[in-house]
């Protein structure tokens, strides 16, 4: 399967869509015994209303830290050092803790990778759903219970009234994630952050959950930040994509531009390293050689340079800015791309890139 088969034609979105969330220069660090680790070091991106942003990158590049930072749920020793998180016109970092709590689970909610352990084992799922309705909607127990059953039905849980009394350990991973989604959507939020919502599930369930998210997005005009390792999923649902590498943004742009006209060698590498769907004999995948650096031992200059086939001398010395590339397709952090010296539009370009240059 190719990317074009996965990506159905969808309306063009862009700067015209209303910005719901604008993240500017977000920097989050953790104080560890070995010093300060910048888990997220200056990220810029935005999410428009009713759109899905795919957030991709190798393990440890700061995807979860980014998403938890948006909800201001980074716990000590972590700290948001700098940046602006403009949500619906207001900077979340300037809100007091009460105002922030009013947004959480209400206008911005989140679901996680491990649905079963994300539910409290000692309360029934109904109770956990009612809790959020009682909190943000001031519903009484009885009304909250009825609404909880409705929500469970909406996310496709069979026999919802009976399931209200079930405890999390009795649910399959897929069912638990549906409960999490019901809980996240209970107050009809504007933004849903889904941190690898399908990674822990089997393949069939993964598809169902992604379908459900897409359905809910359409129904509520919801914006979603979808964090995933699965570029196939991103190809199918995302409107825009942010690629991260070692705590920094590598490339950000509309999904079509990222898939067909990317400008960053790392994006190219990621695209070439996945097989969108089933394995086809004769087609070679080109995983990116090497491993991501440890955040406390980042190489100087562009953090990707030890693995990059296009690295130039300047890449070792100076950190590339995150700016619009001359072609105007995406925003990227790469010296040659910003200078207009790279053409990565062809699949496999990364693997054969060194020879082409």
């Amino acid at each position: 399967m190719s990317i074009s088969e996965l990506r159905e034609p969808r309306r063009r979105v862009g700067t015209t869509g209303e910005r719901l969330l604008d993240v500017r220069g977000l920097r989050t660090s953790f104080t560890t015994r070995d010093g300060v680790v910048r888990a997220v070091d200056g990220i810029d991106f935005h999410v428009n209303r009713g759109e899905i942003l795919g957030l991709v990158g190798e393990s440890g590049c700061g995807k979860s830290v980014t998403s938890l930072s948006i909800l201001r749920l980074i716990a000590p020793p972590g700290r948001i050092e700098a940046g602006e998180l403009i949500f619906d016109g207001r900077d979340l970092l300037k809100l007091d803790s009460r105002q922030m709590r009013e947004l959480r689970g209400n206008r911005i909610s989140m679901i996680f990778q491990q649905p079963t352990s994300s539910l409290n084992p000692v309360f029934s799922v109904g109770r956990q759903l009612e809790e959020v309705l009682e909190l943000h909607r001031n519903m009484k127990r009885r009304a909250a219970r009825d609404r909880a059953a409705e929500l469970m039905r909406m996310v496709g849980i069979p026999d919802p009234v009976r399931r209200l009394d079930a405890f999390p350990h009795a649910l399959s991973g897929g069912m638990a994630q549906r409960v999490m989604i019901a809980m996240a959507l209970a107050c009809e939020p504007e933004l849903l952050i889904a941190d690898e919502p399908t990674t822990a599930l089997d393949v069939t369930t993964q598809e169902q959950i992604i379908d459900l998210l897409q359905e809910m997005q359409a129904e509520f005009n919801l914006s979603i930040i979808l964090i995933t390792h699965d570029l196939g999923v991103v190809a199918r649902v995302a409107n825009s994509i942010l690629v991260m590498y070692a705590g920094r943004p590598a490339e950000f742009g509309e999904a079509d531009d990222i898939f067909y006209r990317c400008s960053h060698p790392y994006t190219r590498g990621l695209l070439d390293s996945v097989d969108y769907g089933a394995y086809r004999p004769g087609e070679h995948l080109h995983p990116i050689a090497g491993v991501p650096p440890r955040l406390d031992q980042l190489p100087p200059g562009c953090a990707f340079h030890p693995r990059c086939l296009y690295a130039e001398p300047i890449c070792r010395d100076s950190v590339p800015e995150f700016g619009r590339v001359p072609s105007g397709h995406t925003v990227a952090a790469c010296h040659p791309a910003l200078a207009g010296r790279l053409n990565l539009h062809r699949a496999g370009a990364h693997a054969s890139g060194a020879r082409e240059l």
Binding site: L73, G105, S117, V122, E131, L135, H169
Partner: protein, 358 residues
């Protein structure tokens, strides 16, 4: 839930029989003839023949076991030689003292321990936390009798004459007495198990005063209970505080706590509703285990603070080679352990649906 309790009760029955059998067997294993073991070395042959016949000791062992169980079923634990009274009476009179001491000590240890644990965990590495954990580490290592003597010396000797002085011995000051609830409620004519229960409760000074509204004696009884309860409860208090703290800290790092925060709950609700209930699971187990330790601590505490409870009775029975009393108390204490384990299991099941429903 009810089914769970019933199942646990059924499971306890074979254990109970096992205990009775062991106690029975031990009594037969005592060297020498059973008559002189029980009546003393100076019993004459005639007395012994009569004794052996009367208690069925000439019958085959299985029959004897049957007789023994039958006696137990009627609440007959034999007659103490040393005290010259039925063991059952002795227990009804003295067990309440121990139960009351243990309950008060446990209440003190649990409530304060969980409170300190929660405060320490939610202000990790703060001054409160450091001081509490330092105190807890000292607390676990002070032997009951040392703490008991120090407390008695400090509050009864050093502070004598000040409003902070506390009585170091007995259950009530001389000159103060309580009317047992059996009299207050006119139950003196009653017979049977309910009467036993009423007598039992009326021997718990604090409960008796509370139930019958004798406020003067209640205050006095409470003041007498403070030092022994603190002496006995300090080790469990320290253990419960440490356990609550570490368990809560573990729990607070789990995924569902992150979910609770992402819902927009206040930190207080996140800790108390979502964190504490899960964190208490291991604490409940620890409390159950501590109860065993409390009983042995009660022996020392009762001796130091001059309380005539089961602990002291056991000591007296052992030094006086009063086998009947030892047997009776062994069974009562074992049943106590069974009950405590049942309560621990039930609270565990109440807290954790995974156990309740499996």
């Amino acid at each position: 839930m009810l089914r769970f309790v019933l199942r646990r009760l059924l499971l306890a029955i074979p254990v109970l029989f096992g205990i009775i059998f062991v106690v029975f067997a031990l009594a037969r294993l005592i060297p020498g003839d059973p008559c002189r073991a029980q009546l003393g070395e100076r019993a004459t042959a005639a007395v012994c023949n009569d004794f052996i016949h009367r208690f069925g000791l000439d019958q085959p062992i299985p029959v004897q076991f049957g007789i023994y169980v039958g006696q137990l079923a009627h609440g007959d634990l034999g007659t103490s030689l040393k005290f010259g009274r039925p063991v059952t009476d002795l227990i009804i009179e003295r067990l309440p003292v121990t139960v009351e001491l243990t309950l008060v000590a446990l209440l003190f240890a649990t409530v304060l321990g969980i409170l300190l644990g929660v405060v320490s965990a939610s202000r990790r590495n703060s001054a409160v936390d450091v001081v509490t954990m330092f105190g807890a580490n000292i607390g676990v290592s002070i032997p009951v009798f040392v703490l008991g003597l120090v407390l008695a010396w400090f509050f009864a000797v050093v502070l004598r004459g000040t409003p902070f002085a506390l009585p170091p011995s007995g259950r009530l000051s001389s000159g103060i007495s309580e009317i047992p609830l059996t009299e207050v409620w006119g139950l003196t004519g009653m017979q049977g198990p309910l009467r036993v229960l009423a007598d039992f409760v009326s021997h718990m000074t604090i409960f008796n005063a509370l139930l019958t509204g004798q406020w003067g004696p209640l205050g006095d009884a409470l003041r007498h209970m403070i030092l022994p309860a603190v002496a006995l409860g300090t080790i469990p208090l320290a253990i419960i505080a440490r356990m609550t703290r570490s368990s809560l800290l573990d729990v607070m790092g789990l995924d569902y706590i992150r979910t609770a925060r992402a819902k927009g709950l206040t930190e207080r609700l996140v800790v108390l509703r979502h964190g504490l209930r899960n964190a208490l699971l291991p604490v409940v187990t620890i409390i159950g285990l501590q109860l065993g330790g409390l009983l042995s601590g009660a022996v020392l505490t009762e001796t130091i603070f001059n309380l005539s409870g089961v602990g002291r009775t056991v000591t007296e029975a052992i030094t006086g080679r009063d086998y009947v009393v030892i047997q009776g108390l062994t069974i009562v204490i074992a049943v106590g352990y069974l009950l405590i384990n049942l309560i621990v299991d039930v609270s565990y099941a109440y807290l954790d649906p995974r156990i309740r429903l499996s």
